[in-house]
Assembly symmetry: C2
Homo-oligomer: 476 residues x 2
């Protein structure tokens, strides 16, 4: 995919993945303090020292444990997200960060309600369903209707307009696993736009096979979008329930489903980004942003999405702080609010910091789980790519190689990158990420502390190298 296409749709979350490229068969090396010991003897001793300290540190793991245990789910705009901001401020202060503050903004809130679904005929039984974020409700008594089956979002889009009056549209289709999450974009079309396309054709509701790669009985939630058509409710069923429906449709039988979901819009709510800094010793006005997002979906405790990112970026800055090194440039850790519902915190940050974005030296985000980083990738701009290539050998001992292609830097970096801030990405192994993504199963026990420490090492040396370089990521 060319960079021009990435920018054109740069506000879309999917782009963060769609613009990343990596061979899906790449082997991930296991890095331990001992193996690093041998490899890094020949490299920069300061980098070696930071890697050693990172791999031994438990800050990231402890921070993620604290966030997911003490706050748990953190739906955008909710009271729990507000508690998470308070937690984040206190954690930043306790860890010794400077200029800790919350930068508030306002969003349109949404809350989940009751959700249930069942096959009425031919074979009565319950389905495991969840509302997609932003969906309108069914009537309180639910909708019972015949089901129109579509094997893919494309099949629905290719169907004639009209003709589905009074029907529930069901869209199936499996998502493929890939180290870089490349299956997410295609699978996600039905989640984002299924309701719009079904409404055009007269449908009264939509059910989709969850956008995920697991075979567990968890439906995956995630934000949807309405077009100009009538708003109809949309939910996702778990993979085993989708398999069940697919078998029944394959048998040629007519299917009737009842669906009750009572989510609601709850009006304007406060959200916010929380910021903490290590102020630069020589060029404090030049800002290196490492971000993650603080909000999560409400079903799990937001451990891999994105408690892990919160832990990794706070933990990396803390390791640098503890090293006694004084970075020349400012390291700004940004915990974005309301990412899940449309990068709202990211947009607010880009607006609220518009005047200083030209002083943003480079930006990156950790928002793809807690597995090992396997490659480093640059955003747009020749200088950026060359500087990233120059830095890449320092990451080799961690099993991280430079990879071609263009990154957005992460979902919350997209608005900044669109405004010219150079982006890089430390790409994590996301093979199993979509097993857990947006489900109740996104919980702390899924995090491997060793893999997390490798992430911390990558971020720590990145912010150190970026703070000290005499070159620039930004094209002059």
């Amino acid at each position: 995919m060319k960079f021009g296409i990435c920018v054109a749709s740069s506000f879309v979350l999917l782009t963060a993945l769609a613009c990343s490229k990596a061979p899906s068969t790449e082997t991930i090396e296991t890095v331990t303090p001992e193996s690093v010991e041998k490899i890094v003897e020949t490299i920069d001793p300061t980098v070696k020292k930071l890697i050693d300290a990172s791999l031994k540190s438990t800050h990231a793991y402890d921070i993620t444990e604290s966030l997911t245990t003490e706050i748990g789910p953190r739906l955008a705009g909710s009271e729990a997200e507000a508690r998470a901001r308070k937690w984040a401020e206190e954690k930043f202060l306790a860890l010794g960060f400077s200029n800790v503050k919350t930068e508030a903004f306002v969003i349109e809130g949404w809350e989940r309600g009751i959700e249930s679904a069942a096959i009425v005929s031919p074979y009565p039984q319950q389905l495991y369903v969840t509302s997609l974020g932003g969906s309108v409700a069914t009537p309180e008594a639910g909708i019972t209707a015949p089901v129109a089956f579509f094997e893919s979002f494309e099949a629905l889009k290719n169907a004639p307009e009209g003709g589905l009056d009074g029907k529930i549209v069901y869209i199936t289709g499996k998502m493929e696993k890939a180290i870089n999450g490349a299956g997410y974009g295609p699978a996600n079309m039905k989640r984002r736009s299924g309701a719009t396309e079904a409404a055009k054709r007269g449908a009264v509701a939509v059910l989709i096979r969850s956008v995920g790669t697991d075979s567990h009985r968890f439906p995956h939630t995630g934000q949807m979008r309405y077009g100009d058509e009538k708003k109809i409710p949309i939910g996702a069923v778990s993979a085993p329930d989708a398999d069940q429906l697919d078998r029944i449709f394959a048998s040629g039988k007519d299917v009737e489903i009842s669906l009750t979901m009572t989510p609601k819009a709850v009006g304007q709510q406060t959200s916010g980004n929380v910021v903490g800094e290590i102020v630069g010793s020589e060029k404090p006005e030049e800002i290196i942003v490492i971000g993650a997002h603080l909000d999560s979906w409400d079903l799990g405790t937001g451990a891999i999405d994105d408690g892990a990112g919160v832990g990794i970026v706070m933990g990396a800055a803390k390791v640098l702080m503890e090293s006694g090194l004084k970075p020349k440039r400012t390291i700004r850790v940004v915990l974005f609010g309301s990412e899940e519902v449309g990068l709202l915190g990211a947009r607010a940050y880009a607006e609220q910091h518009a005047n200083e974005l030209d002083q943003h030296f480079v930006a990156t985000e950790s928002d793809f789980g807690a597995e090992r980083v396997y490659s480093i990738q640059a955003g747009a701009g020749d200088a950026n790519i060359n500087l990233t290539k120059e830095m890449a050998p320092h990451f080799k001992s961690l099993g991280i190689e430079f990879v071609e292609g263009v990154t957005t830097g992460g979902p919350d970096i997209i608005p900044m990158a669109a405004a010219g801030v150079p982006a890089i990405r430390l790409n994590q192994d996301g093979t199993d990420y979509f097993d857990l993504h947006h489900t109740p199963d996104d919980t702390f026990d899924k995090i491997d502390p060793d893999a997390m420490a490798q992430n911390v090492a990558a971020y720590t040396i990145f912010i150190w190298l970026a703070s000290e370089t005499d070159k620039k990521f930004r094209e002059e």
Copy 2:
């Protein structure tokens, strides 16, 4: 464990596992039609022919797919269990079985209601909870109470009586994985008797860490029992929720939980066992029982517990039927009802067939999932064990070895075995069985068709060998 102990507690479901013994490190050989081709050249050509046909057959898989898709969950005494009996009769007839009938009995019914739980303090968030089978309800408005933590069921039993007035008891403790499910018995004590022991001490409700070996956000249900004390509600939280609670308790903070569960007793309901036969050509009055149970818990679709068993025993008898061989003894396939709630179908069968139990030549049940059989084990009695040992070499090509120890034959065989019917067991690899057991995740997609075909081969040759032998399993 000695046989005497097994018999003493022979009506207890757990005994079926507790009396089985096998090394937990045993390697399971993979068997394919090709590998068998070479190994069985030297063995009985009829056995070889039956193995070949079994490994190529899809009856078991198709039957299990049909049951879990067309009926789905089949709670004991429910309308769905009644539909399952109708399904079973029709399936038996369609497959060509003789003497197909349902043998009804009456049980006390129970239904699940609403279930929700949340940590109120120190860290407000939802918990994933489910009622244990047979539990009474909380008040409709729920119970909100401080929590008393116990690290094990033993710790609760060792606590002084009284002293927990007004508290919710929480019992944690992980279940260990083992090929023969040996971790189930110890872990299950808190499920069966937690409410009784907590009530003795004044508690108002009980939550337990689910009896299971997974780390998914599924609470595991399963039957509980009350003693003479006041009946208090009892539920299970998922493993990640238990981890969360354990972390909070480890921090020393006081915990308050709110719990709402509204299950109810629904009075006398009809249940039943469904039977189909291949009538013996020479000794039709001598009966070989191969069983499975038709009911399931209501959360999943009862695929591994015990749709797989239904498929395996019906499928094995069908393979023998298709072979053209005419077994001398009668092969009776029994699909027991209401196993999950206390072996009620098994007891009804033993009572209803009391007059002919002395004509039961041998009995066995498939009720431990759908993974490969790795050993054959005999019940009590020297003749039984010696005959099983003699038959064992025929199973070798399937990766199945004779194993010492005494089996009950399976949960639903226990009442028959207690009345003197010889039992054998084809032990399946149950290492991962308790990842899925009694959860919403017990669905058809979890079944490996190749492993299932290996099970069918084992049952097919067993019923053939048992129908033809001139010896007896029963002690004279």
